[in-house]
């Protein structure tokens, strides 16, 4: 069970949070105009990296606010926590 430093509530146990999958997935602006392949890629294709992963979390049993963080999927080390509407800090972009 990892610990997450909620930007509003501070350091709490994982059991208070909900995982929201990979962050920065962009829904195509005009879905009607994109092809099946692009739409399928939006729906299903994820990076699933071994290493730093940018992902969404929600402090469901606390402030109920969503935020982004960068977590190492091997060591579970969390290197950055940033607001939901911000781009990932440089350090987290080694999967691009």
């Amino acid at each position: 069970m990892i610990q997450i430093d909620c930007p509003l509530c501070g350091l709490r146990d994982e059991r208070e949070f909900t995982w929201g999958g990979e962050a920065h997935i962009c829904r195509p602006e005009n879905p009607d105009t994109v092809g099946d392949e692009e739409w399928g890629s939006y729906l299903f294709m994820r990076q699933n990296p071994r290493g730093n992963h940018r992902e969404r979390w929600c402090h469901s049993y606390g402030c109920n606010q969503w935020f982004n963080l960068i977590r190492d999927t091997v060591s579970h080390k969390i290197t950055s926590i940033y607001p939901i509407d911000q781009l990932a800090p440089e350090s987290g972009d080694d999967n691009e």
């Binding site: 069970m1 146990d13 929201g20 739409w39 399928g40 929600c58 606010q65 969503w66």
Partner: protein, 998 residues
């Protein structure tokens, strides 16, 4: 009168004034306070305490610690009986009853021992290879019975358990010399410290080794140190507490035993065990090491023990496992056993040392004492069926790889103390994700590096001398406290010092070479409990199972209840030799929690019985005083039906359903999910999440809608009402109440941050009571709500907000039954009063309380789908007849794009239809397969009932290309009988919905 034949004259740590009686395999014995079951059995000269798992070979006590793999017994009686307990870990108490396992009638005389005669025909993988035809299941029952380990206790556990969350700066696991000094020095810096030890008494090896620290007896140092720790406010010492799991971010679970033994049924006794969930800023592992056995022919006989265990029994419990002891070793450390035994007056007949003659302090001392020393010798055979009688020894050649032919001879002895070196207890380190490295000097795996904030001290690092343990503990204890944020103190005490600093000069000896050209691999035991020999591992290598993961599963080595604590390293080394690899290259399997077996009750804690699954409860309690039969529906306890005297269950359900169709019924739908959606963009928001057009909905009106995920699958359905221009009330299924609100919140916070919308889940705040049936309006009118309820003014799909005696009330005219219905929303605290008021007012109209079962019949008659029952994670609105609203809506909504993907447009998708069996009385189980004329599977029944209104059996079903099959006949396969059924629309009752507008 106590007769402990094997008891020594030395005092030990037992209390000879307190005699304890106990029973083993039906025979009565005595021991002393301070004994374990194992030491008491040894004191009473009980040699055979168990039988091995596969071959039922007689086995005696091997060790004195948690690693015990032979003396596995059942303890206690009746409901409190515990299986697979280690006799070495069971503290003796008066009246203890224990039995051996895996044998019948007893460990002494076990009928299944006949298996051992066929051992050469039962190699690794024997069962997998032999019992294949026609199928393993034919043999499984017999084999499982033959190879059990005790009888599982199927009675409810009479003890109770609890849990606790803990936090500390420094967690020290292991209360031996290294752990104690680490705790002392971390505490001195000011950190809050928890010190755990798996034994009832702290001290580790200090409890039984003859050592000195700071010039005084080590036991005195121990007692002073423990007193000091007890006096410190920032230190918690937890004996009898074993750390079993090491998880991410320094989260450690530990099992604390509170009662010395079962406290079953004794009033006033506390919980038996407590599960600790510890979060520590820093962890120090001082988990020590386990001595490993030597591998030689027939090394599993009763009377062959670990050298450290023999020393432990003699020094601490004042028992000697034998009168004439030989020692077999590859290191200097084990010589202590010979020296200590001599001091207690026990005869040491020989030290058999595989190493060539060399000089060391230990060897000189053994020589001075006149012990017969056989340097460069190995043991090549042993005799004695239920007790060791003799060992045969032979000189090894210069390289130690073969025996000198013809030079062997026998030595009489009743006990052989063996030492093949030490295995550090790296389990928790590995669980933490730490990497291990093979230390060639100690011939074992030791901690290397780990991402977590932990450090290891003492024997777990391969630091075996007492002085190394004390120095490491002292140094690292303060270092981790400083790393946890504490300032280095101005003055630090000196590290305690011991005289013991001797090297062990270990020389690896992993198995015994062939003797006169004959291999004895099939009699050299590696895993005692699972009967794995060197030959089994060689076979595994020969058949290609070389990887450590394959080796483990193919031979079952390390897979018994002891999880290979004594056997793993030997097995890896033998595999390495069979495949010309170093042990380090073979590697280890990753260790998994728990380190020791944990009682399921400890993990459950207080969440047993009624507390194991907490139901949500309806605000109306009238049901439970009026024969409402409670059932679990999506986590809510709801009335299935209301029983009446003289009625069968079916009659009650039919009576309730008839009332809804003919007069009036009252139903508690408070579990219905309710979410308030407010804000200037509320309509825009809902328009994006519903497949329906929300913006055109007028204030005071209600619409039925579906929500999809972006794959196009239905995630929930329900009605939504427009209470004001910027105010909606959304209803969801009972299951969806929490998840849909969270899902909406996520959309708003993450994806559509520009929308001004507020989501408030109000399921628990508003109760919902549903009045349904042709007489329902008459009943409601009697409440005098000041709302014109006539169809002209308040038609189907309308909503009105009003008051009843000053209490807010919302009236929705919607229907889940097909009859005129009103859903009344009232603050939950008033639900029970309103329910009773409606029953009273509706008495003259024949009002009847209606349960879940009758409601289900009514909705199936109407063909209303239930999300999660009719639909699966793949079902789209197009599959259930909702293509029209989708096609009429021009704006985008979640899931819309996916509906036109080719897969969702396929003609052979499962579609919702009705089925009418020709046999009108047929009872169709849900899930029944639907077949076509060729008896190919084309679908399945999702809901079914016997409708009294239609006098027919009806089903809702998902059928391939179902809509195109309406009018044709399919087959319902129930048991071995096929029943023809006509495909129809799923709207069976009042298909046009005329009754809704009455």
């Amino acid at each position: 009168m106590i007769t402990n034949k094997a008891r020594l004259d030395c005092p030990g740590a037992i209390d000879r004034n307190r005699t304890l009686r106990f029973t083993f395999d039906g025979k009565k014995y005595c021991g002393y306070q301070g004994d374990t079951l194992a030491s008491a059995l040894i004191a009473n000269d009980v040699n055979v305490v168990a039988r091995s798992f596969k071959l039922h070979r007689p086995r005696g006590v091997l060790s004195a610690g948690v690693e015990e793999c032979n003396a596995i017994v059942q303890v206690g009686e009746g409901a409190g009986r515990e299986v697979s307990a280690r006799a070495t870990q069971v503290l003796l108490y008066d009246g203890l009853v224990a039995e051996s396992q895996n044998c019948w009638p007893s460990a002494q005389f076990d009928i299944s021992a006949i298996y051992s005669l066929f051992s050469r025909f039962l190699p690794a993988g024997f069962y997998l290879k032999t019992f294949m035809w026609p199928h393993w299941h034919w043999y499984e029952g017999f084999i499982r019975r033959a190879a059990g380990l005790g009888r599982v206790n199927d009675e409810a556990d009479p003890d109770y358990y609890t849990k606790r969350f803990c936090n500390c700066d420094v967690l020290v696991v292991g209360g031996g010399p290294a752990g104690i000094t680490a705790a002392l020095s971390a505490a001195h810096v000011g950190a809050s410290v928890m010190l755990l030890d798996d034994q009832a008494q702290l001290g580790g090896t200090l409890l039984w080794e003859n050592e000195s620290i700071d010039g005084r007896d080590a036991k005195e140092w121990l007692s002073l140190s423990l007193t000091h720790l007890d006096s410190l406010e920032n230190v918690q010492v937890l004996p009898h507490t074993v750390a079993v799991g090491y998880y991410d971010h320094n989260f450690v679970t530990a099992v604390q035993t509170l009662g010395v033994h079962h406290c079953a049924g004794v009033p006033g006794n506390g919980p038996r065990q407590r599960l600790l969930k510890i979060r520590a800023a820093q962890v120090v592992l001082a988990t020590g090491a386990i001595e490993r056995p030597m591998v030689f022919p027939d090394n599993d006989r009763p009377g062959i023990l670990l050298a450290s265990a023999v020393r432990h029994y003699a020094n601490r419990y004042a028992v000697s496992p034998g009168k004439s002891v030989a020692l077999f070793t590859n290191n200097d450390f084990a010589y202590r056993t010979a020296l200590d035994l001599l001091a207690h007056g026990v005869a040491v007949c020989a030290i058999i040392d595989i190493r060539p003659v060399h000089k060391s302090v230990m060897i000189s001392r053994a020589r001075e004492l006149g012990i017969r020393l056989l340097s460069g010798y190995g043991v090549i055979a042993t005799t004695g069926r239920k007790r060791l009688k003799r060992v045969q020894v032979a000189p090894l050649n210069d390289t130690g790889t073969a025996f000198v032919p013809g030079a062997h001879h026998w030595i009489d002895c009743d006990t052989l103390a063996m030492s093949g070196g030490w295995n550090p207890v790296v389990h928790l380190y590995s669980q933490a994700g730490g990497k291990l490295k093979f230390d060639t000097e100690f011939a074992s795996f030791v901690p290397d590096q780990c991402e977590q904030r932990l450090t290891s001290v003492g024997a777990v690092n391969g630091s075996y001398t007492l002085n190394q343990c004390l120095t490491e503990g002292h140094k690292k204890g303060s270092a981790v406290a400083i790393a946890a944020g504490f300032l280095s103190p101005a003055v630090s005490p000196d590290a305690p010092l011991s005289q013991d600093d001797s090297d062990s000069h270990l020389q690896p000896y992993w198995q015994t070479p062939a003797i006169d050209g004959n291999s004895s691999a099939d009699s050299q035991w590696v895993d005692f409990l699972n009967d794995v020999t060197v030959a089994d591992i060689n076979l595994s290598a020969k058949e290609g199972f070389r990887s450590v993961e394959h080796l483990k599963r193919y031979t079952a080595t390390g897979m018994a209840v002891d999880q290979g604590k004594t056997s793993n390293i030997n097995a890896l080394a033998v595999m390495g030799q069979a495949t010309q690899r170093e042990v380090g290259q073979v590697g280890t399997t990753r260790f998994r929690p728990p380190y020791l077996p944990v009682t399921i009750g400890t993990l459950a804690g207080s969440r047993v019985g009624e507390l194991s699954n907490r139901y949500r409860r309806l605000p109306v309690v009238w049901h439970w005083h009026n024969n409402g039969i409670a059932e679990d529906h999506s986590g809510w306890l709801r009335p299935a039906y209301y029983a009446r005297e003289g009625e069968t269950e079916e009659q009650s359900i039919t009576r309730e359903a008839m009332a809804a169709r003919q007069s009036a019924a009252l139903f508690d739908s408070s579990s219905l999910g309710k979410i308030e959606v407010q804000g200037t963009d509320a309509a825009e928001f809902l328009n994006r999440v519903y497949i329906n057009n929300v913006k055109t909905l007028q204030v005071g009106k209600v619409r039925y809608g579906m929500m999809l995920n972006d794959n196009g699958s239905i995630i929930d359905d329900g009605v939504f009402a427009r209470l004001g221009h910027d105010h909606f009330l959304v209803t969801t299924s009972s299951e969806g109440a929490l998840t849909i609100a969270a899902w909406m919140e996520q959309r708003l916070q993450c994806d559509w941050r520009d929308l001004e919308v507020f989501i408030t889940p109000v399921t628990a705040q508003w109760a919902t009571l549903t009045l349904s049936g042709p007489r329902s309006r008459s009943v409601l009118e009697k409440l005098g709500l000041g709302v014109d309820l006539s169809t002209d003014h308040f038609p189907h799909m309308s909503v009105a907000s009003t008051e009843l005696e000053g209490i807010s009330l919302r009236v929705f005219r919607v229907s889940f039954t097909g009859e005129t219905s009103y859903e009344l929303n009232i603050p939950a605290d008033y639900a029970d009063s309103l329910w009773q008021l409606l029953l009273k007012k509706g008495k003259s109209e024949g009002i009847t309380p209606l349960g879940m079962e009758a409601l289900n019949i009514l909705r199936i008659e109407k063909g209303f789908l239930e999300v999660g029952v009719e639909t699966s994670v793949e079902t789209t609105p197009l599959d259930v007849g909702w293509s029209v609203p989708v096609s009429l809506k021009s704006a985008d909504f979640i899931g819309r794009r996916s509906l036109v993907r080719s897969h969702n447009q396929r003609a052979d998708r499962l579609q919702l239809v009705g089925l009418r069996p020709q046999d009108r009385a047929l009872q169709v189980p849900e899930g029944t397969l639907v077949l076509n004329e060729q008896r190919e599977r084309v679908g399945h029944v999702t809901s079914s009932c016997n409708s009294f209104s239609l006098n027919a059996s009806i089903c809702m079903a998902m059928v391939q290309a179902g809509e195109s099959l309406i009018g044709s006949t399919l087959v319902l396969a129930i048991g071995s009988v096929d029943h023809p059924a006509e495909v129809s629309s799923s709207a069976f009752y009042d298909p046009k919905g005329d009754l809704l507008n009455v």
